[in-house]
Amino acid sequence: MKLTATSLGWRAGSRAIVEDVSVQIEPGETFGLIGPNGSGKSTLLKLLAGLAKRGKGTVHLDDRPLADLSRREIAQSIAFVEQIADTSERLTVRDVVELGRTPWLSALSPFDDHDRSIVMDALQAVDMADMVDQAWATLSGGERQRVQIARALAQRPRLLILDEPTNHLDIHHQMTLLQLVSRLPITIVMALHDLNQAMNCDRVGVMQSGRLIACGPPAEVLTPDRLAEVFRIRATPLFDPTDDSTVLHFHCL
């Protein structure tokens, strides 16, 4: 599914959080969004998902403007995983993942065996199938994040938007989660903090002060000069012969 955003903007009072961002997400690609804290990544993701109120600019899903679609139609195409999601309800893992079926259900098409198997598939995909009856309140941060992703997968979206999905995860779960996400046959847009994780995306976009200042394949975009300018760090690319990959090593400027 193609997502085309044209001159997106969002202001908090007089301050521009996101300003004049245009970007096109190609079908099937994994698009990483990086930038320092407060550069507008989260807000841009919300704008792309049509979740930010009073946003400027337009978003097209394939060739239809998002504004012409109902919330339900959008949710059948786009799933969104927030950075922090919590509830005081005494929900189980199964309850949370079943929420992902919401856009597909109505009074005339209630939850059935088909939905049940989609929910189990989603739980298996994030390796949480043996914890279905656990209470949400008892889960660790990493487990919660995986359950939220399972909930998003249960939506059967064509585009999955994730806001810093590897936050609060230990290194093993960070890597398995990114592996899982990159294997999905759907379009992915995610904000990332770890620049080395961004290296594995098909393309990355760099946000600075609300603007998208660069966009392209990681090797072209994540140059030492640009990282010095945006993140105020000195990055040295190192070659790892075990898997022929390039990793960045950082020093403070």
Binding site: K46, R71, A75, E82, R90, V96, L99, T102, S109, D112
Partner: protein, 346 residues
Amino acid sequence: MSDAALTRPLHRGVTLWGVPGIAVLTLAILAGVIIGETPLPIPTVAAALANNLWDAGYVIDPIDAGIIWSYRLPRTLVAAACGAGLALSGVVLQSLVRNALADPYLLGVSAGAGAGAVTVTVLGVGGGLLGISTGSFIGAALAFGVVSLLARAAGGGPAQLVLAGIAGSQLFNAVTSFLIAKSANAEQARGIMFWLLGNLSGVRWPDVSLAVPTAVLGFFVCLWFARAMDAFSFGATSAAALGIPVRRVQIALIGAVTLMTAAMVSLVGSIGFVGLVIPHAMRYVVGPRHVRLVPATALAGAVFLIAADIASRVLIPGQVVPIGVVTALVGAPGFALILIHNRSRV
């Protein structure tokens, strides 16, 4: 999808829970009619009901017949409708504002409804059952608006909402007291004070025709949006991401809550704790999913208020304790249990 697959789960759910639910409700209503200061034997009650429902023509004491048909039955039906309506209001508010303490009483909606009803009664604008209910509705809607705006202006946290609710309740209760002091005569004032504490004594059939349809309508609105209320578990943004038209659902549900609270307060005064304690108790019994929580809460609220009404009639012989006092006597300890239990969980 086949037709069988479409209807089976719904059908099964209705027979599994609906039939026993209606049976329990019917038994509670019968108990409400039978038990009272003068206990009436079941055959007399059955005969009186049969006479009125399908002209059975049994010969019974006309005084008994009058007590049963004109006094206890409407009173019990209104108690059931109020209990269901107030408890459902609690479920909806707790889900929408994601606050375990949300309830029409604590958020000032009941106080606003009371102030609206008293304005109409004392100032004599409109008048009549419909006029009072309309005043009550406007007061409730106004109170809800004031409290939500204040909570948002104060930062929008859960504590701010409760504090704004307290401020709103105090404001609208003060309006009520001011109106009584300024415009009501002594007899009116005593009547209003008694009514504000929650009182079912004056309930007659016209009240039933307002309370029962309102509760039934509110119940179906809540049931229709049960899945949407589930989606609010992780907040409004998350609900929107799940395809819920947030604004439209909020307006429909808040409208239903305001309508139910206003109708119930205008009929029986302000009854606290039903909207707070019953939904939480039912969460322990049937879990947090609204498809089960909404019917369970409506039923439990109805049965609870019928029981409270019976207690209010028999607790002190020869005297009626205001039903709001009875619900508070039971509800306050129940509320304390909720507070303690929530603490141990987090």
